[in-house]
């Protein structure tokens, strides 16, 4: 009796939802954060560091393995980021896809290892890779070494929020895949 009540408590709406609703929910979060990021971001005269929201999707969705729908979403988000930030078209799309691929690779290599070390080190490594890629692309395309500190604060914020909100970008299984199937 007690255990069934506990089970009911554990079976939340999120835990019962499949990968497609989770993907849509995560994409909506990314879109909302991205749109808010276009507005002036100051609080009491202090400039707020805004996260690269698409990277949450790239890291989180990649953990469920490779799939076509997240890739398309990441390309769309990447192109929007390129246009908004005046970067060469394809820059953020490439970075999002690379992080997504690496995330899937890490998940594949550490299959079943859901321990704290993998959960922390994996996203940290991916964020460092993304940081270096964005910094490198920005430096190459603008012919000078761009300032790394503001970019670092953005990435710190990305990682900090992801550490709390990673469940929102956990698809559970690959989109289109049946439960327990391949």
């Amino acid at each position: 009796m007690k255990s069934s009540r506990l089970d009911r408590k554990r079976r939340t709406l999120w835990s019962q939802s499949g990968p497609s609703p989770r993907l849509i929910f995560g994409a909506a979060i990314i879109a909302i954060v991205g749109v808010l990021g276009m507005t002036p971001k100051e609080l009491f005269g202090l400039t707020l560091a805004w996260p690269f929201a698409a990277l949450w999707g790239a890291i989180g969705w990649g953990r469920a393995g490779l799939s076509l729908r997240p890739m398309i979403l990441l390309v769309i988000f990447g192109l929007m980021q390129d246009i908004i930030s005046n970067a060469p078209l394809g820059c953020f799309a490439l970075i999002n896809l690379l992080v997504y691929g690496l995330s899937a690779g890490i998940a594949d290599q550490t299959d079943g290892m859901r321990d704290a070390l993998v959960a922390v080190v994996g996203p940290a490594v991916l964020l460092i890779v993304a940081f270096l890629l964005i910094w490198g692309f920005a430096s190459i395309t603008s012919d000078h070494l761009v300032r790394s500190w503001p970019l670092f604060t953005n990435f710190f914020m990305t990682g900090l929020i992801y550490s709390f909100a990673n469940q929102m970008f956990d698809l559970g299984r690959r989109p289109g895949e049946s439960p327990g199937g391949s």
């Binding site: 276009m38 507005t39 400039t47 490779l66 930030s85 005046n86 078209l89 394809g90 690379l98 603008s142």
Partner: protein, 289 residues
Amino acid sequence: MARSGRSSQKSGARRVTLGILIFGALALIVAQSAPQISNFFLPARTTVSDRIGAPADTSLWAQLTGQADREQRIRELENEVRDLARYKAAAISMAERMEAYENILNLMGEPPERGVTARITTVVDGPFAQTVLANAGSLQGVVPGAVAMNEGGLVGRVIQLGDRSSRILLISNYQSQLPVLGEVSGVRAILQGKDRDRGVLRDLPEAADFIEGERILSSGEGGAFPRGLVVGTVTKQGADWIVKLAMRDHASGYVRMIAPPEIVEPLPEPEITEPVSPAPASSTSQGAQ
């Protein structure tokens, strides 16, 4: 067995898709190193900026009830009041002095600079470029290369112009180079963006120096910016002269865009044609005739 085979086939296909997408994105980036291809994407960028910066669509309900028209009229009046308030303040402080100067110099007064006031809808402070997007474009009378100012001073210039939006490259951007001069010292230099709030002065003259705390104005050299626009105040930090940008002190979320100064090209010199001397052979034949 067959099921696991299909699974590995699917997995392989996904990897190939990811590889193709990554390769495609990389090819797109590399291709844009050619200005022709980069310019090809410019209309698409401008169209998206138009959509982001100034969505033209209003809801059907707002149109039916006339709310959209009322809001539009309120915005116009607000802009007008803002303009008038600025002109009033400027006029009170300057009219008397101006009249005296004009009398001394026997000059005709110049008409006030016409411009377009727009709201900043998007701020991009990323690693690639420091730009802002304003919700006025060519339809509102903004011209390519227009100079943007706010209440504090110079903000930047329009680098991308859409129908209803303008992308302004800020003077704080690293690649922004602005010829400036000290208001008191008159020393000239080039202001280069350093970070969000500051710029650094380059190409300093060896003989003269700025005065700590003096205002820095645009010098108008190069013709991209008019002369005399307030840029900021200068302080010495180590060996560098650092300018604290005035545009950050009065960021109300609006910019005013004025046409860049027009430099009239000098008229080409008339070509002087030398009289053609007759050939000796023909002259002898003429003489014989």
